[in-house]
Amino acid sequence: MNKLEIRNVSFIYGKGTPFERRALDDVSVSFESGKITGLIGHTGSGKSTLVNLLNGLYKPHGGEVLLDGVSIWDKPSEISKIRYRVGLVMQYPEYQLFDETVRGDIGFAPRNQGLSESEISERVAEAAKFTGITDEMLDKSPFELSGGQKRRVAIAGILAMKPDVLVLDEPAAGLDPRGRREILGGLSEYVKQSGITLILVSHSMEDMAYYCDNVVVMSDSKIYKAGTVDEIFSSAEELEKIGLDVPVISKIAARLKADGFNLDGKLYTVEGVKDAIIKYLGGSGR
């Protein structure tokens, strides 16, 4: 069963003013549980708008956002409860930190949820574990931490709500390769253990190819293509047609295939291409 589904959703900025701009046009898509779905597209393709619709920050002008088959706007007064179930981590989330201690900041949402103190500290501990926040860091002020650490605290603050669906907008933006790996690796581990639905927005095709199970491609306020990561990255030309990059490794693999080398496998990660080459050469290496 798909936890989160979007049906015929439209959204228009500045509706009713001379500055109207359609950001989403009759968009339908669903996100599988226990999987990581990547959302890619140009700036202005509508993906940020879509993200803001998922937890009810924006209300669609047409269509429905369904969580477990029920529209999230069924009871508008209870939209904040929806926000606990669909956790949203915005771009550069470190700017939202405010509490005196890291512990307090991660506990902000659970406290708003009205949980008991013991439940809150349990949630904080668990969220800290997945984001690699040490006990020592928990008692520090969030403003003493490094950029990458702040980022992880902000993500932990959403994980602590124990959402059914987790949406992250460019969680690794501006981080170095190690920082990227730590955050994205931690999240994919979390999905494996908790079975939640994870939606990842990113411009990095390499990260998408490596971490995602499914990919949704947006272009021009519409869904351009949706499918498994295999399906999406095996048709590199189509992505390039709408001006999106593909991982360098899949470009190389595509050129080799075009030369008649019959490579087969996950031709969008370094590992995948390596395996395919070894298989093609008929050996396990040594």
Binding site: H42, S146, A173, D176, R178, V248, L281, G283, R286
Partner: protein, 298 residues
């Protein structure tokens, strides 16, 4: 020495609690920059790689006197900018020679109109009006933002804002431009635009470009790559030399371009492939040869 636009000797720097420089090397706080010696030739295109907090931004700020080193010497265009007698006027001359573009495009635009922002630097240099006008128009032309001259900066995209910021630096006619993670907050399109301008300035106007980044694919396009880790200059060489050290880069939390990584993996499994290919074409050629040979083991 004559054609070195920048020359550092044993450069060290330490931040104190408030983030300013301290007067003496402290045992408690690790130095942000530790004994760095490097010379940069006029017209070179350099990439500085290192993970967040490695000291690469500190390095940049020492080159135009935003920070003062606690140890070591910095020569800009043959002049020792670290000597005691350096005057304020000379300091501003250095800053006009060594321009700097930062990460967040929003936090470096001063004026409410694009062309007035570009004029900010030349205005500070006290240039005559006609000269400012000429420089502003030329600079906006170079970055392809001439048609936005009268727009408000906050209405532009990230990439466009960053191009305006670059124009503001170009208008000071610098000899060196340091890009301090200037592409980090941009989308792929904006990043490509900024990178193209960077390379055009280097190629056509012979401006020395120092691109501080953690995108490997950007560094791979430079003439020379410096790797800074924990305040130390670890590697200094051509992209080819640097990126073929895949193992070493991993050990300090960095990566090589995907193609190079693949060749490295294959080579360590015993396949006969070069490990110093870095561009897409080179990697493709190497793999094609390998597959064509039927994978003869080395």
């Amino acid at each position: 020495m004559e054609n070195c636009i920048i020359k550092n000797e044993n450069l060290s720097f330490v931040y104190d609690d408030e983030g300013t420089s301290v007067s003496a090397v402290s045992a408690v706080i690790p130095p942000a920059l530790d004994d760095v010696t490097v010379s940069i030739k006029k017209g070179e295109y350099i990439a500085v790689l290192g993970h967040n907090g490695s000291g690469k931004s500190t390095f940049a700020k020492l080159l135009n006197m935003i920070l003062k080193p606690i140890n070591g010497r910095v020569y800009i265009d043959g002049k020792d900018i670290t000597c005691e007698e350096f005057t304020e006027d000379e300091m501003f001359e250095v800053r006009s020679k060594v321009g700097m573009v930062f990460q967040n495009p929003d936090n470096q635009l001063v004026a409410t109109v694009v062309e007035e922002d570009v004029a900010f630097g030349p205005e500070n240099l006290g240039l005559p009006r006609a000269e400012i006008r000429k420089r502003v128009d030329e600079a906006l032309d170079v970055v392809g933002m001439a048609e936005y001259a009268n727009h408000a900066p906050h209405k532009l995209s990230g990439g466009q804002k960053q191009r305006v910021a670059i124009a503001g630096i170009i208008a000071m006619k610098p000899k060196v431009i340091i890009f301090d993670e200037s592409t980090a907050m941009l989308d792929p399109l904006g990043r490509r635009e900024v990178l193209e301008i960077m390379e055009k300035l280097n190629r056509e106007d012979n401006i020395t470009v120092i691109n501080i980044t953690h995108y490997m694919e950007e560094a791979a396009r430079a003439d020379r790559v410096l790797i800074i880790n924990d305040g130390k200059l670890l590697l200094d060489g051509s992209p080819r030399e640097i990126f073929s050290k895949v193992d070493f880069l991993h050990s300090i939390g960095l990566e090589s371009p995907q193609g190079t990584e693949l060749l490295f993996e294959l080579s360590s499994l015993g396949y006969d492939v070069p490990t110093d290919a870095i561009s897409e074409d080179e990697c493709y050629d190497a793999l094609k040869t390998l597959l064509g040979k039927g994978g003869k083991l080395a």
